[in-house]
Structures are given as C-alpha cells and as structure tokens.
Symmetry: C2
Subunit: 309 residues, 2 copies
C-alpha cells in the first residue's frame, strides 16, 4: 500500500501563498503525485482564510495539545477544527495519513526553512535529506512552555515548511515558487524513502530553539523599543554579545547582552503574528548534528506502515 | 495666532509605524514644535489599533464622505469615529485644525511618497515644496468612484504621507525613520509657509491616478493569476504595453496590454488591504506640472486664517 501524505496550507488564514498553490494542486492533482505516495491536500482553516485573518477564535497551530483535543463541547472554532482534522486524518482517524507537511509563511526575513518539532528520527531523516538537496536551514523546536500544541506533533512524522518575508494577506509569486520548490523536494524524498532508506548527509546543521525575546516594555506593558534595523537584515545570522538588538524611539541602540557559550543566531524577527505573543524574535544555537542511518530506516519503516519502526 | 496642524496616525489599526512615532511625540512634544505652528497629534482608530486590525466595521479612511458624515445613529464604529473627529477637529469643530497630515504605511514597494487628493492649491504648494526638499514622488488622486471618503478631503489642506513596504502589524525602524523624516519636512515647510509664501520649484513631478487593476478572476470570482514578480520589484517604475503584469499558477506571464499615450507607472502593487477592494495595483501617468506662485500664496493665506485665500 502506498504511503499517505497530508499537505496542509492556510492553517493561518492570512498566509495566502500556500493556499494559492493549493488551488493549483487541486486543479492538477498530478503535480503532487509521486511513486509510492498518496498525497492529499487541504485548506487548514477555511473560515479564517475567507476573512483573511490568522484565526477566528484562537491560533489553530497551537490547538493540537492533548488537553484541547480532549475538550468536549469546545467553544473555540479552531479547537473544534483541530479535533475534526484529528478525527479525519489523525493516526486513529477515518482516513489516517502517515506524514504531515504543513506550509506556512512569515513576515520575518527567514527565506525558506524547515521547522522540526522534537527530535523524532523520521522527521530528522526527512529534514536532513531535504537540507542535503536544497540547503535549507532547519529550526529545531524542542519543548517551550510558551509555545505548544503544534499540528505536526500529532502525526508520526511531520515538518513545517516556512517561507518569508512576505506580508500577511498577499500572494507573492517568489514566495510561492520557494514554497513549491520545498514541497517538491519533500515529496521526492518521501517517495524515495518509501522505496529504500534515504542516504543522508553525514552531518546536518540545525538551529536549536533556545528561547524567545520580548521587546523592552514600560510598566503598562507598552514596548519602549523596536527591533534594531540590523536584526531585520536577515535571520539565521550570528548574534554576538554586544550586537545591536533593539532601537529606542530616541535612536539609542540597546545591545544584546545575553552571552551564550555556543554560537547564537536569530529566527522569526518581527513576525507580525507573534507581536501578540510578545515574541520579538527567537534565539537559536547553531549546531552540527551527526545523522544516523537509523533515522532513514525509521522513516522508511513508518512510510511502509511497518510496526517495527 | 499660530496655524494649527493635526497629525493623525493609526487611521488603520494594523499600520503600526505611525503610532509608534506618536507615542514618542506625545512623550516629547517638543519634537513637533515649530515656530508659528500649533501641532496636535492623535491616534485615528484606537479600537482597531488595540486589535491590530485595519478596521472594526469599515475602512475609516473611506468614511469621510458627506453621506456618511450626515448619517444619524450610524451603527458602524468607523463612521461614528469619522463624525467624532469632524465634530472635534473639522473646519467647524470645537477645536478646528487648519491642516491635516495623515500618516500611513503600505505593504507595496513604494518607498516614501505623498498622496494628494484633488488639486487644491494649498495642498499642491506643500507637496511641491516637500518634493523639492526630499524628492518624494507624489501620487495625485483625483476623483475615483471606487475610492472616496478620504479623511484629508474634509480639511482645507491635507496630505497623506505613505511609506512602504512594511508588513501589517509590525514596527520597522527604517519605515519609522522615513516617516519621521517626511513629517519633519512637512512641518518645517508649514512653519516657513506661515512666515511667508514658499518659493516653489518651477516644476513638480506628479503621478496622476488613472485607474486600478484587479487580478484576473474565474467565474466564481477567484483570482486566476497573481502580480508578476517584475511588478513587485518596485512601484513608480514605467509600465509599457507588453510588460509582464500577472503570473498564472502554471508560470505563464500575462502581459500588460492597456496602451496609453502617456507614460504609465504603477502604485500600490500588492497592498494587502486592497485585496478585499479587488485592487491589485493602480495605474498612474507621470506628468511634469508647472507650479504656480498662487499655490504658495493660498497656503500662506490658509495658515494665517485669512479669508482672502
């Protein structure tokens, strides 16, 4: 039996580029076809998409926690939608899918990247192979009490493809092209992994999530500085002790003082949707991670529905 | 008596850069002080700003039409707010202000520019002088049945300062700096114009609004192409017959075929807020406009509250 892949876009209704591709994929199903794969695509949050809002009641991509998924008579539209998606395509659902690819865009200057949640072998295999093919940076997001309930965490294998910078609410063709390129690579690799375990690069470079930084605020909670222009020139760049971090309205630079033994860099700088979460940017540590042949075996076993994985 | 200038920001609640400057201006009133001027600044749409939305019920900067301003028992929050601002600071208001400067930001690649509505002599004087000082492009917006009810149209003299590209919902320090530079120039010029008629450049370059273009759509109204990457490289650039305009999902370029005798260029390409208005971009014709000493006299007379203007 073929392996099943669920491709979701528009989990956030004001990220318009994935849904733009979705319309084309749904018109020409052949674009997503790969040997050994059964790929299904869907729009994550149709009501929010119709209103061009990130969400109606709450963030759908934080609504996949066990607690919310167990909630009976949930009043929030997104919690009900999360439950519906799990009932439909979750591991025990009516039409279960094995792999989830979740497409997002960001206002942050991040280019294309993969976001990996946790360190599950199958996820790491797919991410490492995709990095080997396209050179994308990988943001490894472990547990963060401020951020949980991500959709991919509920599937046995799942990655987020994140592309920016693009404002919310518009279709930008170069962002669409980058997204389509990432999707094509991931599907090619899943198809190959279904046939045989992938040959992974010996090393992968990951940016491990450390913590998020808020803007400086006054007693009433209002920001007293914004991100420094240097931080908006691009993410993934090193942030050293003493580097410009914030800029106050009088033009005074506030430097970064949080020393760290490893080499730090930033992600999600000025993501518009994170303003309400009080996240100005997130700090990561760049690491070389040796890959393991076991990862590729785990991905292949998972795709073949083997119980030995 | 000093001339009065009303500086508004946050007429659209998800344009965060003007309001960011406003907080600083309200802390340090001296920054807006100029000889001969009494400058007051305010936040245009506090409820929309609090929710980081362009508006709550309808677009405040389309709510200043005579019809809406006369509406009794208006149910829409923005219509009531427009009536309130007119009752407070309009020409016949309790604290009338003579000049309106309205600060906006856009997701379109426009840089800084001035938007002039109609061809009122005092507006043209201020815009021409500011162009002479900073070189900003000027978008001359005459009447367009699809777009009316702009705030500045209700004041005897008023301009919009528009700066982009910046996503909705974030503060970008370089956008703030450009905005502050524009405001400083406009206030300097109003202060000078209060003392004596401005010496205007002999010519000004304007981009006259012709019409707006929608994306191609299918029978159900869904877009079948997005703007071409060429169009997103920057606004104000010439658009010739045969130039790339749209890109369809299969990668086919749709060229511009609307010939025009003058030299055409684009503005507001991919402004996120205009997607719901079905405006992909607007077409303008670049013109050299000889200035008139009468414009500068009109501005000075207006600022001095003379009835002879």
């Amino acid at each position: 039996m073929d392996a099943s892949v669920l491709l979701v876009t528009g989990i956030h209704g004001n990220e318009r580029n994935g849904p733009w591709l979705l319309e084309q994929w749904q018109r020409e199903a052949g674009l997503l076809q790969r040997p050994g794969l059964r790929v299904q695509s869907l729009l994550g949050n149709p009501p929010a998409y119709a209103k061009n809002l990130r969400y109606i009641d709450c963030d759908l991509n934080r609504s996949f926690s066990e607690e919310l998924l167990q909630q009976s008579d949930a009043s929030q539209l997104e919690v009900r939608r999360a439950q519906e998606l799990i009932a439909l395509h979750g591991p025990g659902g009516r039409q279960p899918m094995q792999v989830l690819l979740d497409l997002h865009s960001t206002t942050a200057p991040m280019g294309s990247c993969l976001v990996v949640y946790g360190e599950r072998p199958a996820d790491l295999a797919l991410a490492a192979a995709c990095q080997g093919q396209l050179g994308l940076p990988i943001y490894l997001h472990g547990s963060d009490p401020r951020q949980s309930g991500f959709m991919v965490s509920q599937w046995a294998c799942g990655l987020v493809l994140e592309v920016g910078p693009v404002p919310q609410g518009v279709v930008a063709p170069l962002i669409c092209q980058q997204t389509a390129l990432g999707v094509a690579s991931l599907l090619d690799l899943l198809s190959a992994a279904f046939r045989a375990p992938l040959r992974l690069p010996a090393q992968m470079v990951i940016h491990r999530h450390l913590r998020s930084l808020d803007l400086p605020r006054d007693a009433e909670g209002r920001p007293t500085a914004c991100l420094h222009p240097e931080r908006l020139r691009g993410d993934w760049r090193p942030l050293h002790h003493g580097d410009p971090l914030f800029l106050d309205p009088a033009g005074k630079t506030i430097n970064f003082t949080g020393g760290d033994p490893g080499s730090l860099s930033t992600v999600f700088s000025n993501e518009a949707a994170y303003q309400e979460k009080q996240i100005a940017l997130s700090l990561t540590r760049r690491e070389q991670l040796p890959t393991s042949p076991g990862w590729a075996l785990a991905l292949t076993a998972l795709l073949r529905g083997s119980t030995t994985c």
